[in-house]
Point group: C2
Chain length 590, copies 2
């Protein structure tokens, strides 16, 4: 068995069925081994960025590593954005790359010369800061260790990407019979996880008592929380749940416990609930600025805050004053609550749900806009979307609009580029197409452009991707930004300022993909229904306001010294009059 054969055999035995790739001469033996592995299926993208992004999504969707095979040098650097995305979004991703000969590479490593082999770059310094494990395979006998270690790192603790770089002269070498294994005990990370002090039994009793005694308890579920655990904890404790953007699909929107979504572009009800809660369980959520706003010390200001996270570095942050921090998996935390009494809070549950209903994101005004309003369009699409769809949402204003609006159905999975917010993420949806389930993709025209080469991949495989291009004439989020802060000095946001995206129906035609356009005045429901009923890939350009509202949101103002000052977490713009604000639960209950 060669090194290359070992790599793909290993991954296949871990359950991987599809590998995303762009071929290259310096990955020639790797490519050939993938070809010869009859249990693996290769999907070729037209840019390594998308090979990595698709593999990232494959990993998130299936809970096993996604795998991308790329070539030396530019093949590797082209994958970096996807790897960084997988790193910050905790996605188990394997990058396998071809490399120059081990002799040339080791010279580069040793001397720091710019380049020795043609096309080659010493990748270790380039990617170590965005991978959990990197190895350049300099000896065939090490491949077992590197793969086992890589798999362990990708899948254990806080998940993330790993990178195995294989010099071309090593790829086709035979592996020895006896190879050093990786053992958990050898892992530095594993050691630190083993010795990490867990909460004592006494501490835990106090936590469960606090939960049971809470009057206004609330869960904030993030991307580090599984759907199963959200279901288990709400059934057990019967307390309301708000989600961060990475946690959107962890609870169905029609659940009685669902109380909305927080964020700089969030839902008012969830923000009011957060600020009224007396106990907040922060489960697998890293409390980023875009989730909690600009005043971390006043976030959930009335709550006793318990944060559970598997990554100690997330718990070491001190901007939000947390009362109890537990470094463990959220699944284990939920399991440990088996004996906890549920708090008496059914009125609070109803109150939170009612806030969510009282402050809808999609207001009546939006229904009549010409051109179409993106919130309104999204609400119609969301209503019609199949129960079992994967929903992939690209970055920019579309991510805000859709994440505020989308009503998640029980079986739906919802994917975004959460931490990195990569433009062009729509094409990651290729990684969702391993079963026949529908894939609904929403992306702005600016973002579609960034990976438009993948129209060729959609066409080739006729993937069941329905791509809705939110055509708002460039980069709407930045247009807003330049309007709000630059006094309408526009640069690089639309046709008048240097950026003009194409007619995507024409582009779809050129690539041989069926396409439709939805504009004001169309029967939107009928058109969406038709598109969703079509087989294979469809591209639908939706003609929207190029300066549509983005609300509600945490707004900022420019101060005289040039700095920005933001509003409070529960004071979303457009700002409410006092009589529009909710009566506090405390006042109702007393």
């Amino acid at each position: 068995m060669t090194v290359s054969e070992y790599i793909f055999d290993f991954l296949q035995r871990k359950g991987v069925e599809t590998v995303y790739m762009v071929s290259g001469s310096s990955s020639m033996w790797l490519t050939d081994s993938l070809y010869k592995n009859k249990k693996l299926h290769a999907v070729c993208t037209h840019h390594e960025q998308v090979a990595a992004m698709a593999a990232d999504l494959y990993g998130r969707k299936n809970g096993i590593p996604g795998v991308a095979l790329v070539t030396i040098g530019p093949g590797a650097t082209n994958a970096i954005t996807g790897v960084a995305e997988a790193y910050v979004d905790s996605s188990p991703l394997f990058i396998i790359s071809g490399q120059a000969s081990s002799k040339l590479l080791s010279y580069e490593q040793k001397t720091g010369i710019r380049q020795h082999g043609t096309q080659s770059l010493n990748l270790e310094p380039l990617v170590s800061s965005i991978t959990k494990y990197f190895a350049a395979v300099m000896d065939p006998a090490d491949i077992r260790y590197h793969m086992e270690r890589g798999y362990f790192e990708a899948m254990n603790g806080r998940r993330g990407p790993v990178w195995i770089d294989v010099p071309v002269d090593i790829q086709n070498r035979q592996v020895p019979e006896d190879m050093k294994p990786f053992s958990y005990q050898n892992s530095k990370d594993a050691d630190s996880r083993d010795t990490r002090s867990m909460t004592s039994q006494n501490d835990f009793q106090e936590i469960t008592q606090r939960i049971s005694n809470a009057k206004r308890p609330l869960i904030l579920a993030g991307g580090g929380m599984s759907k199963a655990s959200v279901s288990a904890i709400t059934q057990k404790l019967q307390i309301p749940v708000v989600t961060s953007r990475m946690g959107i699909d962890r609870i169905a929107s029609d659940s009685q416990f669902f109380a909305g979504r927080i964020g700089a572009y969030g839902q008012r009800g969830a923000h009011f609930a957060i600020q009224q809660a007396d106990l907040l369980l922060i489960l697998g959520c890293r409390l980023s600025v875009s989730s909690i706003g600009y005043y971390p010390d006043r976030f959930a200001v009335n709550a006793y805050k318990i944060q559970v996270d598997i990554d100690p570095k997330e718990l070491e942050k001190s901007d939000v004053p947390i009362d109890r921090k537990l470094c463990m998996s959220t699944d284990a935390f939920v399991d440990s609550l088996a004996a906890t009494d549920k708090p008496e809070c059914s009125e609070w549950v109803s109150y939170c749900k009612s806030l969510n209903t009282r402050y809808p994101v999609v207001i009546e005004d939006y229904h009549k806009c010409n051109p179409l309003n993106s919130y309104y369009f999204t609400s119609v699409l969301s209503r019609l979307a199949p129960e079992d769809a994967s929903v992939v949402v690209d970055t920019g204003s579309v991510c805000n609009v859709v994440s505020q609006t989308w009503s998640v159905k029980r079986e739906q999975q919802y994917f975004i580029s959460g931490g990195l917010s990569c433009m062009g993420f729509w094409a990651a949806s290729i990684g969702c197409c391993t079963d026949k389930k529908p894939v609904i993709v929403l992306s702005g025209d600016g973002s579609v452009s960034m990976n438009v080469q993948e129209f060729a991949t959609l066409c080739y495989h006729n993937f069941p991707i329905k791509l809705f291009v939110y055509q708002n004439n460039g980069y709407m989020l930045i247009r807003h930004n330049q309007h709000n802060y630059m006094n309408d000095r526009f640069l690089g946001v639309g046709p008048e300022s240097g950026v003009k995206t194409p007619d995507f129906c024409k582009v779809a035609d050129a690539y041989g993909i069926p396409n439709r356009r939805i504009s004001y005045g169309d029967n939107i429901e009928a058109k969406i229904t038709e598109i969703l009923s079509m087989d294979g890939a469809v591209i639908c350009e939706v003609m929207l306001e190029q300066f549509g509202p983005l609300a509600p949101r945490i707004a900022s103002k420019v101060m005289p010294d040039g700095s920005l000052k933001a509003a409070e977490f529960d004071d979303l713009a457009p700002f409410l009059n006092d009589d529009e604000k909710p009566v506090l639960f405390h006042d109702i209950a007393t």
Copy 2:
């Protein structure tokens, strides 16, 4: 003056006129300062990869830094391939990036947490290994130092990219009146350059004597050599010149001194000349594997070898046994030869030229191929190309074919992604469009796909780019590779193996770009002439053999143990019979 204003004012004062960019909210003040700087012109690309590549080419063409403005996180990582390319190809490039607030960034720097600010990545570990200087601007008072230092590093010694990362809260801060300057003496690199021992006067006399006494002297000019210096040294010494691929445009092909190009895909005459030379001046050429083949110890085996390079790391390599190494600029070296007597070698000059003529790359057979042969098509295009054109050649088989075939006219500039060999490099041609001179771009269909989003940029500006898409149905170089070494186990090279590129005339139509197609049987000259006479951007798809020959080349064979064994440097495939080989100059002269 704000930090952002300072940055663009500084660059403008250095002669920069155009900045390549993709806008973003986290680079908002930078973008606004670029907008407000009336002496700078912004060109918006549709992917940061191309902003960086276009700036790279702008820098190479104009001999001043090219500048790309990108945003935080994915904006920055998207630029990495272009930066790595500029690094290995010694191009002065400034990347200016937006970043999260300095507070969030410094927390990331301090703790190594995956991410704190949304979208942000701590860039220093990501890009330090591919930049000459990186600075995250944490204090407005430092901006003068960072810009002066960055400019110094980009332009001095071996050129290369620098990166200035500016947190969003710093961008709009006022700079103080008194700011610390950068002085040359403070530069660690500068210090080492100062103390680097130069060749003594005695040594130099020996070198000039060796040159004067040589019977078969030869210059190998690389990318580190200026056109002016090649002209000066050939006029002075009257000795023949071969070029590496990065040095292709340093001498016109019709010069009596031009003796061909070396490389794994080279010209036979140049390889014969190299192996017969008794003195080889290696000027600004790093002797990469793709230039010199697989037996460095037998490269120019009969020559006394003198290597001049400004990068000491290139001189420290020991694979090619070099007799004398001079660490200095090639310009200075040529200047220092003022008193050198020219060697007596006019017959050798004629012999080298005759070898070049005797072994043409474009053989008679190619003229009749159906579909068209790429060498033949290139020879026609080259003949018709304007005297003052910039020629931009993408990577893959096209780079081999064109670099072997193109007949360089006196005023032409020829640009490739030499060291990194980036697919998608064609779009860097946007950086050539700062005057009205014609830009001829040659790229394979696979490479065009990688940055096809830039069709929008071509259309928007109606740049004078004539893009010839060498349509060979995917990745021809890798197809050859899989044919030669994998027994026709094809994966990821064409429509039958997972990759199908579109009809680029249709894509051009969709983007509103005039287009043509050239196929076998067409009047090629007439069509090319028409295209070259058209204003603005034109895309021409050229229908070529999908399995065309790539020759002559250094061929390799797979050995029983899986390794590859390559032929000798002057034994290019297809292998010549003894009677086809040249009579050695030595035998003629005696």
